[in-house]
Amino acid sequence: MSTDAHGNGDDDRSSNARLLFVALLREEWRLHTRLFGGWRFAFFPLVVAAVAVAGTVALLESGLADGTILLGVHVLAAGFGLYSGTAAFAGSDMLENVFGELSLLLGSAETLPLSRRRLLGLFLLKDGLFYAVVFVLPMAAAAVVLAPARTPAAIAAAVVGLWLSLSIAFAVGMTATVASIAVRTRGVPTWAIAAAVALVAVVVGVSGGSGTAVPYVRAVVVPLEAGPLAAVGIAAGTVLLAIAALVAYDPTYGRPTRTVGDRFAALSDRLPLESGTDALVAKTLLDLSRSSGGVWKPLVSATILFALVAALVGIVDAITGIEPAPGVFFGGVLGLSAFTTYNWLTQFDDLESYLVYPIAVEDVFRAKRTAFALVGAPTVLVPYLAAVVWFDATALDAVVGAVLLGGYGLYYYGLTVYVAGFDPNEFLFDAVRFGAFTVGVAVALVPALVVGFVVVPPSLASGAALAAAGLGFGIVGYVLSSRAGPRWERRYLTDR
């Protein structure tokens, strides 16, 4: 055993690493249980497993091929990995730009004799393990349906096999993000990284289903299909890339100081709102535009939703030969972007911070609703117009869809604010609230989608009924968002 000048040997270092790893795991668990509904968070994996099984059954019943479902589940895992990799931002000011202030053990490298790089490695390892167990393992329950087996051992083997494959896909996504961040800390501009990613996507996309790159990309995303040896190779390659990313990562990287002109006064003056409310709305808009990603963040979220829905329409059309009324279909579904837009609008402040001013909680919620209308309308209108043009909607369909889009958007917004208050991102991990939100969405969306599929193009009668539903749910949304202020004010006053 080697020792340093202070008598600290390799054993001490590995023991410290173990201690640190356990502490990081404990922190992760407490963070989730504290933020996401306490003990109810323990049920979240069960919810994920139930959704995975139910979704797979539904897709199989609709005639979708096993391989397509398998690809979809792996793409989800890889996408989740891409998102989880942003933890590499933690402890730097970059993450605060997106998610607000954090105080994690990861930041202890600033005060303790710990290597920031080593700590980040342990942090990401912990993240990978935690999410592989809490999120990816329940997703693997889909194997019960995808590969029906008769004996418990065979079922377990199928689930474990899919779990390992999904975990590799998750790790690939996570490593890709960490590697991107690492090169960013070496001075490579964000646009260059984005251009490289876009180039890869275009090359793969242009080559189409028969292109030479596609099988390799598919093997990386779905290791289960590539065979055990290839899967081990992909896993080893991912580990090597992760190590290289950690070596390349520059912990001293810092963004230059930003100085800007006074835009607050001009913006609040331009808003035709009463004094005080204009200030709250202007602040929210500046928060959004100046944080990383700028005003494009909500549009990107809505565009992702649009792309998913467009792909779904294509799949359904390919399987059943039925194409929905595009206006009704996209109008109903794109309204869901209300959730992501509201999430971005509340990402950079908390309700407590407003309680030092002479402002009621209700005023803050009202201002957020105004900001939501200002940001949400153009955000959702662009993909909606693209959809009605692309899918050649009739005039009636487009108008009815627009009414649905506005009404349902306001309804989903009201539902989100009423159920989740100022923390929409967190309640997704609270099984009870998430269940309430899901039921609330389904009540409005499912009937509209059914009509959108059955009556193509919409008749005057069905169009009028859908437009009435859009207006009705819009009113419900407005009422819910109006009641959210008093409801959450009571909670803050008594629970804090």
């Binding site: 950079f348 001013y357 002479p358 009621a360 804090r496």
Partner: protein
């Protein structure tokens, strides 16, 4: 009429009684120090005084307002510097103070003049157009102090006013607080720092376990106004240590820890302790 009056204030969080029968008064012209260990109920009391929480019992009046029934009016009249408060990350100091002026219904010209005055006083004029996220903690604290006094309130409630400030600015802020209180305003300062309380407060109250355990008057500059009384002749630190229970001892303020554990060394003992032979 007292600027701040608290009678039998109670507030529980589940089974924990954060504030348990708190009583005190702060008059206009006073700089009142609110001292206590962590978890003594200081922040909960400030939140109740500013209508941020609903108390379970008791009666509170701030500048004649009931903060529970009239939270907005209370917060309109007072200035608040919250514990660990920081200005919005993506606004600049100039924009933030304009924002505060707007929600407080102040005229833009008045706000502009106040911004100039505060940037001169605290020396952050060079940072007026820098996003808060790129400012140091100390610079952010200066901005938070400016927002609390922007509308020249008759009463201010401040949690740790000198946190993160450099010694020069600390002295400026201390002098300003003394002058502000002397101008017939009520200044309520919650702090762990006994030295700060002794140097600027006209009166202090020590809280423990959610109750006010003792109050004492201090002459300006920390000279004991009631030095002839045995109990009050003790240095504030001694009083603090006596009143705070053993259960709270782990949360003693840093200066107390240093002195108890002899970190400062005998040669650096507090001269007031030397003078009393303790």
């Amino acid at each position: 009429m007292a600027a701040i009056r608290v009678d039998e204030l109670c507030k529980s969080y589940g089974s924990v009684r954060a504030v348990d029968g708190m009583d005190f008064r702060v008059e206009r012209g006073e700089l009142f120090g609110f001292l206590g260990p962590n978890g003594a109920g200081k922040t909960t009391t400030i939140r109740a005084l500013t209508g941020q929480i609903a108390p379970d019992g008791g009666d509170v009046r701030v500048l004649g307002c009931d903060p529970t029934a009239e939270p907005i009016e209370t917060r309109r009249r007072v200035g608040i510097l919250p514990e660990q408060g920081s200005p919005p990350s993506f606004l600049t100091p100039r924009e933030y103070l304009e924002f505060v002026g707007s929600v407080r219904d102040l005229e833009p010209e008045y706000v502009a003049e106040r911004i100039d005055r505060w940037t001169d006083r605290l020396g952050f004029g060079g940072k007026l157009d820098t996003l808060h996220t790129d400012l140091s903690r100390g610079q952010q604290q200066k901005v938070m102090i400016a927002q609390a006094f922007l509308h020249e309130p008759d009463a201010v409630l401040i949690d740790e006013p000198l946190a993160n400030l450099d010694p020069l600015v600390q002295e400026q802020v201390k002098r300003f607080l003394v002058a502000y209180a002397a101008d017939d305003n009520a200044v309520f300062v919650s702090t762990h720092n006994i030295d700060v309380a002794e140097s600027i407060c006209t009166r202090v109250g020590i809280v423990a376990d959610g109750r006010m355990v003792t109050e004492r008057s201090l002459a300006k500059g920390g000279e004991d106004a009631d030095a002839d009384a045995d109990a009050d002749a003790d240095p504030l630190l001694e009083v603090f240590l006596r009143e705070v229970t053993d259960a709270d001892a782990r949360d003693l303020p840093s200066s107390a820890h240093d002195r108890i554990e002899g970190k400062a060394g005998d040669s650096e003992r507090d001269p007031r302790l030397e003078a009393t032979g303790r």
